[in-house]
Each structure stands twice: as structure tokens, then as C-alpha cells.
């Protein structure tokens, strides 16, 4: 272990969210030994893994990488990025790699870059499945091979070991595929011999950068310092501060269990952790425990099995709005009837939903009787079918009813407000996460491929 604590600079909650140059410089002036950040998560949905694209625009990722690569090179410390390109599939990693190479060229840097790929071949996964090495996590059941086939891309979520190996081999920049946020941030400290409990706990606290501070909107990053007995955390923004409550509350974030965090090779247990104010801006944490377990990696797989077409109208008609639940039910029944009569069995196992924005669209629950009518509702029509063509045909069949469905039958037909022509929009596939399983491996590197690009040698190694 290095003399004194190991300091990891976490510049932002996610690459592309907006690292701040002055914060990075401050963290380096405080003696940071490495810069580490994740670049994605499953949070924004399955499309990014299924399509291999980033949620972020290229410019925002390039801007952050420019700041981080320049400051890391100046300080001579490594830059570690996990879950590259949002979903961490091979394409997502390659997209990030290309930006890194472009920035290196612009800055005149010649780093040794390690690329860690964790996308999995379907045939290999089926062999693991047949060998009983893939287990479901609730609420899903045992994995069917057909579900593997339904996925467009599958990643095995990496732990810290591939990063530790790349850093030990001299990487200046590590770009990893899908990885637990914590493993990305803990890897350098673990390499340098920091105790596992504090290293993993510090990484969890700093996973969203400055969000562990009192004012979540002030500043972007955090600095964690991991020592033999625990860790300290401070925000990189000098006008912000951490408190024991702000730090301990971060264990709650996007986590179903606030005391246990399951990682590829063990479980972080913070049940006995103690949080104390060290100075005005810094919190010190002790009592975090790491319990090693047999090595498992979580599988994330995304694919699409169904397709959607949407339409949107706005309604201000007070007669409709006074009876809006009745209107919803009658229109939905009429649309189903229309599809059965005009398309028939060819429509297959279709689904139509009407979502009343301004009334109950976010939950679909029925407001209590007596709730005052809204001034206006937006009605989103969503048709789902087994093909895009069929979803589109269903929307077209419903079109005249959706735009003109009357609540009072003996008056002239109303026309509701629609903004676009053509009115139906093919939304594309419904991307879903299809796996919630773990795979047992004998070696943390078994499902990981490391590729080196050594710009100091002038070409890819």
C-alpha cells in the first residue's frame, strides 16, 4: 500500500454529465492517485444496450474526456472509465474508444489504453446454462435458451479484477464495458492494497459524484480517500459539504437494500458502518465490511420482441372532460372493436392503451369519484403488435375513431386537436431487459477480453 490513504477523484456521476475543470484540478491538488468514473447504467432503459448506442450526445462525452484526459496526463495518473457508452456493450465501448483516440490526437497525448470487453456470445452462454452455471434473480425464473436468442446484446457485468489487471499492466486509460459503478471506483485502491470494506463502501458513496454532498445541485464530483481503518469523502466543489446524513443516505440510492450491496466477488455490508463529521466539508466512515463470496457476474441482456405505433391528441371539450373515465373506456372498447372488424385475426396478439396526460397517465389508476375535471388532457394512443407493419396498420385503422370519437352520440362528430400529419408515428421496437440472472465463473477474467492500444508505440498493439 502507498504511504497514507489512496485518493480517487470521481469527477462526475457519469461521463458526459459535465465534469468541471476547476473541480478536477482541486482534486489533483489534494493528491488524487487516479480519476475514475462510470459512463452509464441500465437506468435509461434497454434501448442503449440493444442498439449499442449512448444516451449522451457525442459532444458532451468528448468535452468531459478532454478535461479528464488532459488533467490526468498532466498529473501522471490513470483515468478509469466503466460502463462505457451507457450500456457497456462492445459497440458502446468502441464508440467511446473512438472519442478517446480523437481527443488524444487533439491534445498530443500518447496513452496506453486498455479496452475491457464483456459482451457475451449466445452459444457460450447456452453452454454455461446447460452446465447449471446461470441462476435467476427474483422476480425472474430459470433461463430459457429462447430468451438468450431474443436478446440483441448480452453483457456480463464486470467486477474490479479486469481493471486491476489493466492498471497493473501499466494502462494510462482503462475503458471498460459494463461494470458495477463501485468496481470502477474501487479498482485502483484495491490494486494498491487498500482494505476491501472501505474501498467498496467509498466507491458506492461516490458513484454519483457530488450527489453524496448536502447540496446535490452544487458541483459535480467527489474525492474519496481510503485508508487502513476506513475512508473519507469530500465534495470537489468548495462551496459544498458532506454530512454524515448526506453520505449515509447515499446507500439508499437506486438500491433495493440499504445495507448490503452484492458485487461480483462478494458482498459489501455497511450494517455496522459509522459516519462522523471530520471537518466542515469531510465525512469519515469506518466499520464497512467486505464478505467474499463465490464469483458471479450479473448478466444484462436487451432485445425487442414487439413494436409500437403512437398517436397523440389534445382535448379541451368540457363535456368529454366531465366524463373522462367513461370516455376512455368507451373509446378503448370502440378501438378494439374497430381493429377486430377491419383487420381481424391477422392483428394477432395486439395491445392498445390510451394514456390520459393531465388526468392519470403516469399510473393509470382511476382518480377518486368527485375529482375535479382537468382543463385539458393529452391522450396518447399506443398500439403494440408483433411487427412494425401491423402496429402501424392498427393505428391507421383506429385513426378516425381516435380523432373523432363522440361522447354524445346524436351531435355532430367532434374533432380533437392533433398536431402532426401523418398523425401516426412508428415508434419502433419495444426494447426490454430480458435477463436478470447471474453466471458463475471460476476466474473473474473468464468472460472478459482485454485489448490494448498503445499510442506510445504509434499503433495498436
Amino acid at each position: 500500500m502507498l504511504d497514507g490513504p489512496i485518493k480517487i477523484l470521481v469527477p462526475t456521476g457519469s461521463l458526459g454529465a459535465g465534469a468541471r475543470e476547476e473541480e478536477v484540478r482541486y482534486g489533483i491538488s489534494r493528491g488524487a492517485h487516479a480519476i475514475a468514473t462510470d459512463a452509464g447504467s441500465t437506468d435509461s432503459g434497454a434501448a442503449y444496450l440493444a442498439l449499442g448506442i449512448s444516451k449522451n450526445n457525442r459532444g458532451s462525452v468528448k468535452r468531459d474526456l478532454t478535461i479528464l484526459m488532459r488533467e490526468a496526463a498532466k498529473a501522471g495518473i490513470p483515468l478509469i472509465v466503466g460502463s462505457s457508452g451507457q450500456a457497456g456493450g462492445d459497440r458502446n465501448v468502441d464508440w467511446t474508444r473512438d472519442i478517446v483516440l480523437e481527443v488524444a490526437g487533439e491534445l498530443g497525448l500518447k496513452p496506453r489504453i486498455a479496452l475491457l470487453y464483456c459482451e457475451q456470445e449466445k452459444a457460450a452462454l447456452k453452454r454455461y446454462n446447460a452446465a447449471g452455471k446461470i441462476r435467476p434473480l427474483p422476480p425472474l425464473g430459470a433461463l430459457e435458451d429462447a430468451t438468450i436468442d431474443d436478446c440483441d446484446h448480452i453483457v456480463a457485468v464486470m467486477g474490479a479484477e479486469p481493471y486491476i489487471a489493466a492498471l497493473a499492466a501499466g494502462a494510462d486509460i482503462v475503458l471498460g464495458g459494463r461494470t458495477t459503478d463501485t468496481a470502477v471506483l474501487a479498482s485502483y485502491a484495491l490494486l494498491k492494497g487498500a482494505p476491501a470494506g472501505p474501498a467498496w463502501h467509498a466507491a458506492k458513496i461516490a458513484e454519483c459524484g457530488g450527489q453524496c454532498a448536502v447540496n446535490r445541485l452544487e458541483g459535480a464530483g467527489a474525492l474519496i480517500s481510503i485508508g487502513p481503518d476506513g475512508f473519507e469523502v469530500e465534495p470537489l466543489s468548495l462551496s459544498n459539504r458532506c454530512s454524515p446524513e448526506s453520505v449515509s443516505a447515499h446507500m439508499l440510492y437506486e438500491n433495493s437494500n440499504p445495507f448490503l450491496l452484492v458485487e461480483p466477488g462478494g458482498v459489501l455490508d455497511v450494517t455496522g458502518a459509522d459516519y462522523a463529521q471530520r471537518d466542515e466539508r469531510t465525512v469519515t466512515v469506518s466499520g464497512s465490511v467486505w464478505k467474499p463470496q463465490p464469483y458471479t457476474m450479473k448478466l444484462e441482456g436487451a432485445g425487442s420482441r414487439r413494436f409500437q405505433t403512437i398517436m397523440l391528441i389534445g382535448i379541451q371539450d368540457p363535456v368529454v372532460l366531465a366524463r373522462v373515465d367513461e370516455f376512455h373506456d368507451k373509446m378503448l372498447a370502440a378501438l378494439h372493436d374497430r381493429v377486430h372488424k377491419t383487420i381481424g385475426p391477422a392483428a394477432g396478439d395486439f395491445h392498445i392503451s390510451l394514456r390520459l396526460y393531465g388526468w392519470n397517465a403516469v399510473t393509470g389508476d382511476r382518480p377518486p369519484p368527485g375529482t375535479a375535471p382537468p382543463r385539458e388532457v393529452g391522450v396518447l394512443f399506443v398500439a403494440t403488435a408483433d411487427s412494425q407493419e401491423m402496429a402501424s396498420q392498427i393505428a391507421k385503422a383506429c385513426n378516425p375513431y381516435f380523432f373523432h370519437f363522440p361522447i354524445v352520440m346524436d351531435e355532430e362528430l367532434p374533432s380533437y386537436g392533433f398536431a402532426f400529419s401523418p398523425a401516426d408515428i412508428d415508434r419502433g421496437p419495444v426494447y426490454e431487459f430480458l435477463l436478470n440472472h447471474v453466471i458463475e465463473v471460476d476466474d473473474p477474467m473468464e468472460l472478459v477480453r482485454t485489448v490494448w492500444i498503445d499510442l506510445s508505440q504509434g499503433e495498436a498493439a
Binding site: 437506468d43 439508499l252 438500491n255 409500437q308 393509470g364 389508476d365 426494447y431 426490454e432 431487459f433
Partner: protein, 102 residues
Amino acid sequence: MARLKDVCRHVRSKNAGPFWVTFDLFFDGPENFRRYHAHPALGPDLFHRLFGADPALVRHYPVPSLNMVKISHARTSPQGGVVERDMHCGQQYVRLLDIELT
């Protein structure tokens, strides 16, 4: 009669991975935490009634040091499915605010 919003300083909801949703109920102090965090009205049946959750997959984690309880349950439809209305589940807490704790 207290409603949840009368005894909490903050209530929030969020996805916890694609298959789970988690609700954080921060009570306004230790007294109301002790009194209400394990209240039967906040039990698995509530999440079954409001969200269709399987009662066997509703988990309660009290955190006394923060005067809060975290309640997590498996989603009936994984994130981003055909009937998705709230990808991050960030609006689902609103339905808890008026729950009566009698």
C-alpha cells in the same frame, strides 16, 4: 388521523435496476419513525393493491439512523415494457402520500 405526507419530511421512489422499484420514506423525526415505519397500512398488501406487486416480493428495510424505511418490490412489468408509463418509477411515490395511518 395521520396521512403519510403528514409524518414524513420526504418521500421518493426510483427504479432499482430494471426489475425492482424502491420507495424511501423519510419520517420527520424519531418519534414518527418509531410509530409508523412498521405500520400495517404500509405493508405488502398496500403495494399489492396500488401496484399489483407480489406480496412475497415486498421488502421493508428500516434505517433508524436516518429515521427512514426503504420499501422495495419487484415490478409487475420490467422497465420499458409494453405498458411502461414511468421508466424510472420516479412518480410512483405520489400514490403513497395520502395513505392513512390509523
